[in-house]
């Protein structure tokens, strides 16, 4: 009974947080009339860049995933693990790395300049798409690789013995698999790029690279035009909502990372060595170079980090831990309450999770500001609001991990519990606890790392005295103190990865049942 109540409370809280804030924002708005030509350009740009980023990520992930699926080489497992890193990498660190490689003062521009060509110009649409591909190519590669390794090896052996051409391979084996997975992957990346804020903030380059999310921030922070912010928020909410509804028709791919460690046993591997090598090397370099650039520069200037980093670190850590606890509490409540219900209830819980993915942090932030402002100084709640919004943003990912685990445990052991008349205490400590320990650790790690790297709501609410690590990094970049920014990036990355590792390991720890 308690489970149902808790689950219901969480569900209602989530609905208030997402739909409620959107409604508050909507009531503030002057409707679509408040939007100028430039705002509609931002809407168009948002849709355009999200389609292009998602399209490019998929088109490039296909050869990379195929290469990883049919080649075995030393370091393959390390590369696959590394592919998981951008997902928990603070976006602002990635952007800093991309600037170091692709910026006007970056490596490639310097080489081009030396050879007498024009320098690269990353600001604007190219930078936004580049950064989105950087973050999503690895994610899609992992999703596709998982689908690839799920194809029974026998099929490839049969195809090989029949002397199938590459086209036949594609048409008969890989094509159908891609048709089943690619649309969902496209939708997921599209959704992630739709609500992207930091990338446009850092490399958008002005009105030509402004996303809706950034326009909301500007209307709010620069114009203090709540009506316009509200109208933009409404557009954002409508688009995200529509795309999320699509997610019911085209299921989003699962991201549990299982089976990725399987060594490929493909007979056609050697024939494609050169081509596959090109993609593996290319993707690896695209991923490693920007990160390497930041970390190396940061390590060299480690002693120059500003003293404020102590407080910023602590602030970030506090937010991350509070938001992780909140996220886990919500995910567990929902999973326990709904995992055993009918499929309709499960869809409802799942939909709420997707709502977290589709709600824009800045819409929620704007809504909360409007709600609090008449009664108190909203800036005073910056930390709690950030923690709460971060928890909500991480919830869909935590649910994806926890819900199946809870469902499976109940499926496998409920009969046992009934027949033995097992009490709640034993059930929780002996059966449920150990079985959920690992997924809880993993989702806590995800939630903590995501919150650690977040720079969204805090940018909306922060005052000069209050900063998190990502905000401090952004401000240092703004002041063009790139050495100190890089050093701060090192601290941020170490802190994020450490939190992830600690929670994830805590989950694996001494679990008696794998």
């Amino acid at each position: 009974m308690l489970r149902i109540v808790l689950g219901g409370v969480v569900l209602i809280a989530l609905l208030i947080f997402s739909l409620g804030t959107a409604l508050v924002v909507g009531l503030q708005g002057r409707g679509l009339a408040a939007l100028s030509g430039a705002d509609w350009s931002a809407v168009k740009f948002t849709l355009w860049q999200a389609s292009l980023s998602a399209g490019l990520s998929i088109v490039m992930a296909i050869p990379v995933a195929r290469a990883l699926a049919r080649q075995s080489f030393p370091g393959r497992q390390a590369l696959i693990t590394l592919l998981g890193a951008p997902f928990i990498l603070p976006v602002i660190v990635g952007v800093l790395g991309l600037l170091a490689v692709f910026g006007r003062a970056g490596w490639i521009s310097s080489a081009l300049d030396w050879a007498g060509f024009a320098k690269l110009s990353i600001y604007g649409a190219p930078g936004v798409v580049l950064a989105h591909v950087f973050f999503n190519l690895p994610l899609v590669t992992r999703l596709l690789l998982q689908a690839w390794t799920a194809i029974p090896a026998e099929r490839f052996r049969v195809a090989e013995s029949l002397g199938a051409s590459p086209w036949a391979y594609f048409r008969l084996i890989e094509g159908p698999m891609l048709r089943a997975t690619a649309p969902g992957a496209f939708l997921l990346v599209f959704l992630l790029c739709l609500t992207s804020f930091v990338v446009a903030l850092a490399v958008g380059g002005g009105p030509r690279g402004t996303t809706i999310e950034l326009a909301i921030y500007q209307a709010f922070r620069l114009d203090f035009d709540l009506g316009k912010a509200a109208s933009l928020a409404l557009v954002q909410f409508t688009i995200c909502g529509a795309v999320s509804l699509l997610a019911f028709i085209v299921p989003l791919p699962q991201t549990n990372g299982l089976g990725l460690d399987r060594v490929p046993q493909r007979l056609d591997g050697p024939r494609h060595r050169l081509w596959d090598g090109f993609w593996i090397f290319g993707a690896g370099a695209f991923l490693v170079l920007p990160l390497g650039a930041v970390l190396l520069r940061g390590l060299r200037h480690m002693l120059e980090v500003p003293p404020q980093i102590l407080t910023a670190s602590l602030t970030s850590l506090t937010i991350a831990i509070v938001s992780t606890a909140l996220c886990l509490a919500m995910a567990l409540s929902l999973s326990l309450a709904f995992a055993r219900r009918g499929s309709l209830a499960r869809s409802l819980a799942e939909a709420t999770g997707i709502l977290g993915l589709a709600s824009s942090p800045l819409v929620v932030g704007t809504g909360l500001f409007v709600l609090i402002f008449p009664y108190a100084q909203p800036m005073n709640f910056a930390l709690s609001i950030t923690a709460a919004v971060n928890a909500m943003m991480a919830l869909p990912f935590a649910l994806r991990v926890l819900m199946p685990a809870v469902q499976e445990t109940y499926g496998d052991y409920l009969h046992l519990r009934m027949s033995l008349g097992m009490g709640s205490w034993i059930w929780i400590t002996r059966i449920l606890g150990p079985r959920l320990r690992r997924p809880i650790g993993f989702s806590a790690g995800l939630a903590a790392a995501l919150s650690m790297g977040d720079l969204g709501v805090i940018a909306l609410f922060a005052d000069p005295d209050l900063q998190t690590l990502p905000l401090m990094l952004y401000r240092l970049m703004g002041a063009y103190r790139m050495d100190q920014a890089a050093a701060t990036a090192v601290v941020l990355v170490v802190q994020s990865l450490f939190l992830f590792w600690m929670f994830d390991r805590g989950g694996r720890g001494h679990a008696t049942i794998g």
Binding site: G37, A105, P207, L222, D223, G478, M482
Partner: protein, 325 residues
């Protein structure tokens, strides 16, 4: 070392806070940077006021006003320093500022009379570049060239807003076309002046929107004569930077004292070689060698606060639409 001083600072601050009155001044980032006027202003004022002067950087000048609107009457600021005359009409309209009365012998071109705000320095916007570059002499040539520029966002930065009104004043109805043509010259639009100038110094652009007085910084402070500004035939838009007192201040007398200090010789003599602007009241020692001349009246463009406020919104839409293409 840093760590110990940080902790010492924390404890001392909490111990001392009870007796010393605190004057909170919101200003723009570059004002309080290590090389800006902030440190010298703070020690000079604290030597006489028996108070703790806390200057807080809030992005660039235009972001100051948005910040105040966000905080409304709950703001902790007593004084805001760093708005300019393009924003004073909008700022006064918020009702957050209280009338002030100061006496000073202003050297601001065109004289000064405003109930709510007092000027502390002024200057002319200009594109700064390397002396090796053959710079364009007007906006049309700049737009037609393939030179790269960095500018600031008019919504968050007073130089950005100044540029917007510069183009509008010089070109009127054609301003939109100028912006459309300039669009491919713009590397990026930064939130504030510091970001843009930093990018320029790192070689990310050929020209940066700054002031006619900026090259003097390189010449005097760094003995580097490699920077100059492009003299434009359209004339140069002026900026008069001002400060005002919040109506909600709980340090009324101290705020008045600070504003009077601001137009005194002690403050004004700090301005030329730290903020690199013309002081609002000429200091007794005059301007340093290497400081540029003021431009002639024909070369100086400026809108009154009321005109600037009336033009801002339409000019901003024009700018956004042209650059969004």
């Amino acid at each position: 070392m840093k760590l110990t001083s940080l902790f010492a600072g924390l404890f001392l601050a909490s111990a001392a806070v009870a007796e010393t009155p605190v004057l909170t001044v919101y200003t723009y980032d570059s004002f309080i940077s290590d090389w800006g006027p902030g440190p010298a202003v703070e020690s000079a004022f604290e030597a006489t006021c028996g108070c703790d002067l806390q200057m807080i950087g809030v992005g660039d000048g235009a972001a100051l006003l948005s910040r105040l609107r966000l905080e409304g009457s709950r703001t902790e600021a007593d004084v805001v320093l760093g708005l300019d005359t393009n924003l004073t009409a909008a700022a006064a309209e918020t009702g957050l500022f209280s009338p002030i009365s100061l006496s000073a012998d202003y050297a601001v071109p065109g004289g000064w009379s405003d109930r709510h705000f007092a000027p502390f320095d002024w200057g002319y916007f200009a594109f700064v570049h390397d002396t090796q570059l053959t710079a364009p002499t007007n906006f049309r040539d700049l737009a037609a060239s393939d030179l790269k520029i960095v500018i600031q966002d008019p919504r968050s930065s007073t130089p950005g807003l100044g540029l917007l009104l510069w183009v509008k004043t010089a070109y009127g109805d054609e301003a939109g076309d100028i912006w459309a043509d300039l669009s491919d010259n713009i590397v990026t639009v930064t939130a504030g002046w510091s970001e843009a100038y930093g990018m320029f110094l790192e070689g990310e652009a050929d020209l940066v929107l700054s002031y006619t007085t900026s090259p003097a910084y390189h010449l005097i402070a760094e003995e580097d004569a490699s920077k100059t500004f492009a003299l434009f035939e359209e004339g140069h838009y002026m900026q008069i930077e001002v400060a005002g007192k919040l109506a909600t201040t709980d340090q009324n007398a101290l705020a008045d004292q600070f504003l009077q200090f601001m137009v005194s010789d002690a403050f004004q003599s700090i301005i030329p070689t730290t903020n690199w602007m013309f002081p609002a009241v000429t200091p007794t020692m005059g301007l340093p060698d290497g400081f540029p001349q003021a431009l002639s009246a024909e070369q100086s463009l400026i809108l009154s606060p009321a005109q600037a406020a009336a033009q801002r919104s339409a000019a901003l839409d024009e700018w956004q639409s042209a650059l969004a293409q």
